[in-house]
Symmetry: C2
Subunit: 137 residues, 2 copies
DNA sequence: ATAGATGCAAAGAGTTTGCATAGGT
DNA sequence: ACCTATGCAAACTCTTTGCATCTAT
């Protein structure tokens, strides 16, 4: 049976309260405010557990390592700001993408990532406003 | 100035002749048929060089490490077969995705990946026909 | 009390870099 | 001859695993 430890709840709370998908490192840093000696291995182990029980979901963007967000089962996509590197949810979907595949191929699923400037980075071409740290410093 | 070595031309030939994006490991294995003692570091160094001179392009799919293909500058997307893991080009594009982003966000670019069964894997639910190896054995 | 969870450190996988040598030009 | 490119091995980053200890139940 699973146990409710301080680290597990802190870790989940961090993901739940984030307004965007977080990397394991970001989760570690945020959760350490709550649980001082938290180790990175514990973060990875709990991310795997939370994934298995469906509490969180993996966000994989092209060329980036995995981020994690609370599982909101609705189909959605992601937007990455090319200034601040933060990732945001996009709840719209172009739909009907099956027709794009070559003849003889069947399409079951798709992933879409949009790139551009987020609302905070519109005016400032080199850095965001600084709500949260950059993924790529 | 750059030199034309056996390894560099073999390496580029492999990518040029492939009908799909290849991983560094796949490039190594294929190029070794031509240049016996080829090292992985040489593959990585030449991939970087070929990228810089615009001869090849990186193909980044969500959750996968980078693959490489010849640079055909036309905008296109990719399809990954969920059976054989191979990646194929998709030359169609849904277009007009800017409208999907949240208000205040500007969209400059997008990446789209389709998933399903390729032509070869239509009938066989567990493995492909075996033209080339699986990325995830 | 007991079995799962933690933290540390070591082990893996993928990619990059340092260095002496080989080989284009 | 010169100087880039190569191959090997070590370094690095990210993630996973082994193990002794801790702790929720």
């Amino acid at each position: 049976m699973e146990r409710l430890t301080r680290q597990r709840s802190a870790l989940f709370a961090v993901i739940e309260n984030a307004q965007r998908p977080l990397s394991p490192q970001e989760v570690l840093e945020a959760a350490r405010h709550e649980v001082a000696g938290l180790g990175l291995a514990t973060v990875y182990r709990n991310l795997k557990l939370l994934l298995e029980e469906g509490a969180i979901a993996t966000v994989n963007l092209p060329g980036e390592s995995a981020r994690y967000e609370v599982a909101h089962h609705a189909h959605h996509h992601h937007f990455q700001c090319t200034d601040c590197q933060r990732v945001f949810d996009v709840h719209q979907c172009p739909g009907d993408l099956a027709r794009l595949a070559p003849a003889g191929f069947s399409v079951a699923r798709h992933e879409l990532t949009l790139y551009g400037h987020c609302a905070d980075c519109q005016g400032s071409p080199a850095q965001g406003v600084g709500h949260m740290g950059h993924s790529h410093p």
